[in-house]
């Protein structure tokens, strides 16, 4: 029989799950991504590449900052531009704002309801835990305020330009953000403590599957990094097996298209293996964050999950630690006086070329690859987005968990709920992934 869960809710995007079940055993799992494919990679052709920045941001309504940054980096790579230091700092600050909003959104609205009020979503959480919601909203609002101040708008910022940023940070705005940020950090610590406690109380890590995979992510001299560094690959045993510059990603990452999903499945070219990206990958790959409070939580997390951890549930704990780190990083950047400098834009001259821009979006490695002609008009685009890189492992895990539960006699609708929580742990961003699945448990009559 076939069973279909559609749509998977409380994720970003449209996904369904199809399970083909025969004699109480799962024979096949399809993650059908039915998110309408907008085909950005095609319609960006023929456009002036500097316009790609704002266009590409619309790939995602949550991680638009990451797309804007990956886009401008690809452009600057093609045109050999090095933005001034302050511009990079402003970009890092903008990126931190994006992480704060995205991670807080996930933890509070997408993940916590599953633990605290299953089946009731955010509405239930707001009714039963209003103070918790207020704190989460307070933190997330700060992320959006940072984005609005640095980026010009809270959603789909416009100030990222070739060569740097289009507007400097004013002293007043900086004072406002610093003052608020310090309050936000205090609240975030309370929230993260709460989350760690919940995980311990309900032994939540036991509830999620372990799936030994490879991991990929940015690391800079052992430090957790989201803006610019070489890509690292870690094997399931925890060894770093490859380090490479993003411009050579085609040598390392391959994709297969599938008949049943609008999202392609990436894998490592070298050995055909699946790999994962995102918060867990970054936690596995990094030695430290470099900010005191995050590093404290990081040590605590390591002591709970080890290294490398393959537990899907650890994604959320890693996310919580990254939330703290993002706030601390934002404060650090705001405290740096160089952030007020007006030297924020390098000279730019278009030329023909190829460029690759790699950043860590909140959900994982994000790659923009552009070929442009001598007028700076795009000839060809390739995108590797964060979430698609996790879909192959997700499918495998859903297969394992579904079989496991069915063999224990768990009833089908409970199985469905369970599978959805696993999907959610990845915080998949399906709009990105369709540049990105639907689990369909298809029941035919027995």
């Amino acid at each position: 029989m076939m069973v279909r869960i559609e749509p998977v809710t409380r994720i970003e995007g449209h996904m369904a799950i199809t399970l083909v079940i025969e004699k109480n055993k799962v024979r096949n799992v399809q993650v059908n991504i039915i998110e309408p494919p907008r085909l950005f990679e095609k319609f960006m052709e023929g456009k002036p590449v500097e316009e790609a920045i704002r266009i590409a941001e619309r790939i995602c309504g949550i991680c638009y900052v990451a797309h804007g940054l990956a886009s401008v980096k690809a452009l600057e790579n093609a045109w050999n531009i090095s933005p001034p230091e302050t511009a990079i700092k402003l970009r890092r600050l903008l990126h931190a704002g994006g992480y704060i909003h995205s991670h807080m959104l996930h933890l509070a609205f997408l993940a916590l309801p599953d633990i605290l009020c299953p089946g009731e979503g955010v509405v239930g959480l707001a009714k039963k835990y209003p103070q918790l919601c207020k704190k989460a909203i307070f933190i997330r609002k700060f992320g959006q305020e940072v984005t609005e101040v640095i980026g010009g708008r809270p959603i789909h910022p416009s100030s990222i330009v070739p060569g740097g940023m289009s507007k400097p940070l004013s002293a007043e705005a900086r004072e406002f953000l610093l003052k608020k940020g310090k309050e936000v950090l205090k609240t975030a610590i309370e929230l993260v403590d709460f989350i760690f406690d919940l995980y311990e109380k309900y032994e939540l890590l036991n509830v999620y599957p372990e799936d030994p995979t490879y991991y990929m992510g940015l690391v800079r001299n052992g430090f957790h990094e989201t803006y610019d560094a070489k890509l690292h690959i870690m094997n399931p045993e925890g060894e770093i097996v490859d380090v490479f510059d993003g411009s050579r990603y085609v040598d390392y990452i391959a994709e297969d298209a599938l008949p049943y999903s609008f999202v392609k499945h990436p894998y490592l070219r070298i050995n055909g293996e699946k790999y994962r990206v995102g918060t867990l990958a970054r936690i596995n790959l990094a030695e430290k964050f470099g900010t005191p409070i995050a590093d404290k939580y990081f040590a605590k997390l390591r002591s709970i999950i080890g290294r490398p951890s393959h537990n899907v549930g650890a994604y959320n704990l890693a996310r919580a630690v990254e939330l703290i780190a993002s706030i601390e990083k934002a404060l650090e950047l705001l405290e740096d006086n160089q952030i007020l400098s007006k030297d924020i834009r390098a000279q730019v001259k278009p030329k023909a070329g190829v460029g690759v821009g790699v950043v860590e979006a909140p959900r994982g490695v994000l790659i923009h690859h552009y070929e442009v002609d001598d007028e700076g008009v795009i000839k060809r685009v390739n995108l590797i987005v964060a979430t698609q890189q996790n879909i192959p492992s997700l499918e495998r895990e859903l297969f394992q968990v579904a079989n496991n539960l069915l063999s224990k006699g768990v009833e089908l609708s409970r199985v469905g709920q369970k599978l959805e929580t696993i999907v959610r742990a990845y915080d998949p961003c399906i709009s990105c992934a369709t540049h990105l699945v639907k689990l369909k448990i298809v029941n035919d009559k027995e």
Partner: protein, 292 residues
Amino acid sequence: MKKIAIISLMSDGGCHIAFLDIHEELLQLLNQVDLVHSYMTVDRKDIPYNIDIALIEGGVRTTHDIELLKEARSKAKILVAMGSCACFGGIPGLSNLYDLTSSLNYVYRETPTTIKGVIPHENVPNVIRVAPISRYVKVDFQIPGCPPESKEIKDALVSLLKGEIPPQPTKTVCDECKLGPPKKKPKRLRRIYEPPEPNTCLLEQGYFCMGSVTRAGCGAKCPHAGIPCDGCRGPAPKALDQGASILNALITLAYENIKEFSLKRHSAYFYRYSFASSIIEDLIRKRLVEKK
């Protein structure tokens, strides 16, 4: 309590986020209305009956979208197009300038990293031309923007819940912008990789600023940040077709300078958000249907 639903079609989720960006007011709102469907925040999978206000986020891109849309229309008293994708087709509308089959071929078979290529066809809906939702159902109200201002979404909801028609902006972004209006003709056209002179109208400096044909309501955030308006809020009340209007204005200002016109290239400026609802789209679709 009145029932509100947010139903998403082809979208990036940004309008959902704009709605959540009312921040603290969200908690109050959730006490006053029954949010019965919202894929990002509520677990209910089906679209319930007797919805008072349905906000549709996203445009139409697949046959599945049409089904969802029609279902929402039949179950809702008031149907609102929220965001520029629902209202005009949005940025993905640019895809309509490219042959669909070649586009699918490129994305699913010919990118540098694709090894096994196949165009998805199993258990997935059919992909069709991007369209605003008004092509398929009657729309009672529009809240354009990419995304709309959070306050706009909330104010519109509050008015509609009271049974009133929310006020619509009557001016253009140009009216809200401190830098304009343009005082002289641009000497040459400029692209945004060149930094602008401060405190001077961007259109006057030769940038493709869409402010004069774009609906007001955002406070001209982008020009104030040093970047020309790209028209994300859709056509101003008096500009029937955003692209044709700006083309008209630009010719008036700088006709010597647009030497070569390419729809694929210049649509990035003139029709970035509204191509799927433009008269050119209308003309292309008629040809396509006629070809059969």
